[in-house]
Amino acid sequence: MIPQLVVDGLLTGAVIALGAIGITLTLAILRFANFGYAEFLTVGGYAALSAVLAYGGTGAPLGPFSFGGFIAVALAVGLLATAVVALVSDTVVFRPLRRRGAGPLVLIFASFGLALVLRHIVLLVYGTQPEYYSREIQIAVLLPGGVRVMPDQILVLGVTVVALMMLWWLLRRTRVGLAMRAVAENTALAQACAIDPEAAIRWTWIVSGALGALAGTLFGLTVQLRPEMGANLLLPLFTAAVLGGVGSIPGAVIGGLLVGVAENLSVLVLPTSYKATVPFLIMLACFLLRPKGLFGK
């Protein structure tokens, strides 16, 4: 039972890790806790759903998976739409506040407002019923140790790894990534290098929005889409970012995997309904014992 719980936790953790990276980027570069971020997962997931509904499904299932090839197009739509929503959120809500010298607390409250607006727009458009990209039946794959995983879950893990490699390339090998890392460490010095912080901030919204959309779509693929899914993932996402250490991308990944596994293993000692409290306990322990997180500086 434990190996199964660990593997399920790693798969859930992969999705949490993607979202936590978006949060840690926002924390490091924009220097505030964006509580509206989790709604980007919802927006991304539902934007991809809109594409699927418009097309009339995802197409004939590919091999052992529950979905067809159109899911790639839907994912691209979700990423693009969420990046645009993230940019518009910054332009309309956060940038005017930054220009007036608003502190982190004001930005946090504004992010709560943004979260409510985005969540209720999704509710208004799609209603409260859970949605699925596909209702095709999958056959679980048997792994050594008697562990069973769905083909879709394996794909989620693979997509997460590819996304992480692309993010590493963006941050380490491109001018945009260099600007983002420079602004994250020292905005004034970045400016002294002729780096425009506002441009780096725009890219942060685009990248973090796209990561959120990817996490939301993968969550929808393996679980289901619900308007409150972002809100439900908010605590695990922040816990993973805090546990990993603010600004640390490897930290966010490891934090996400640890939170996912801990949540799943908790059912061994806690009633299932208490599973959602585990991220909170981890965050509390982290604040008390290691406030900088595992890899924070």
Binding site: R175, L178, E185, L189, A192, C193, P197
Partner: protein
């Protein structure tokens, strides 16, 4: 080109509009000239430098480089316009490698970055040896060299150095001042804040003493070093402006 490289006239600057730190300051720096900006703590030396880069609020006055007004430009635009700036503290990216620090310095001119990095390694060979090291792994002197090399990546016409010898061993400080001379010899104007008066004037062509945000003494470095009014200015006594 006639006239000074940097010309500051009646500059009023600070962090709040109602609390100026630099108060109607005027000074100039010529191409290839090293000017030491001296003064007691809190005189506004660093604030004046930040004002040139647009990093603090400019309340009034004018800052021109080669006749082009800088007031009102965002920092990245001012820097791209021909300024290299080395802050006093946190002057390298500690989480970036030496090479990434140099790439960041050359951000405004991406096509020339590779060539400029090679140039930086030729000028400062120790950086070539440390190219894969993080900025945070360098010693104080190495960081200062990296900070200067980073600021030179866009081939600025004006280099602003805020206390380049602070915290350095005498030998490392000498190396930094030698590098400054080499840079000025190539035609770059250097405005250098220096807390160590003797070292600052020793490395400069001219000195300017700032007290309470305003220049109160100025002159050739050698003459200023012997001027009895220099000590009085540092002690806060009134001096007759030169």
């Amino acid at each position: 080109m006639s006239g000074p490289l940097l010309e500051i006239r009646g500059l009023v600057a600070g962090y709040h509009r109602d609390l100026p730190i630099v108060d109607r300051a005027s000074l100039s720096v010529g191409a290839g000239e090293v000017v030491a900006l001296l003064g007691p703590n809190g005189a506004g030396k660093s604030t004046l430098m930040k004002a040139v880069c647009g990093l603090v609020l400019v309340i009034g006055g004018s800052i021109r480089i080669d006749g082009r007004e800088l007031v009102g430009l965002p920092t990245h635009a001012a820097i791209a316009g021909g300024i290299g700036y080395v802050p006093q503290v946190q002057n390298v990216f500690v989480t970036l490698t030496v090479e990434e620090n140099l790439r960041a310095g050359g951000f405004a001119e991406p096509r020339a970055v590779r060539e400029r990095i090679a140039e930086a390694y030729r000028r400062f060979p120790l950086l070539a040896d440390k190219r894969r090291n993080l900025g945070g792994e360098l010693s104080g002197g190495q960081r200062q060299v990296l900070a200067i090399a980073r600021a030179l990546m866009t081939r600025p016409r004006l280099l602003l150095l805020d206390e380049p010898s602070a915290g350095l061993a005498p030998r490392a400080a000498q190396d930094v001042f030698a590098a400054v001379h080499g840079i000025a010899a190539a035609g770059v104007g250097v405005l250098m804040v220096e807390q160590n008066v003797k070292a600052g004037l020793g490395a400069a062509d001219r000195g300017i003493v700032l007290v309470q945000g305003r220049p109160v003494l100025a002159g050739p470095a050698a003459a200023l070093g012997k001027d009895p009014r220099l000590a009085r200015a540092f002690l806060g006594e009134a001096v007759d402006a030169a």
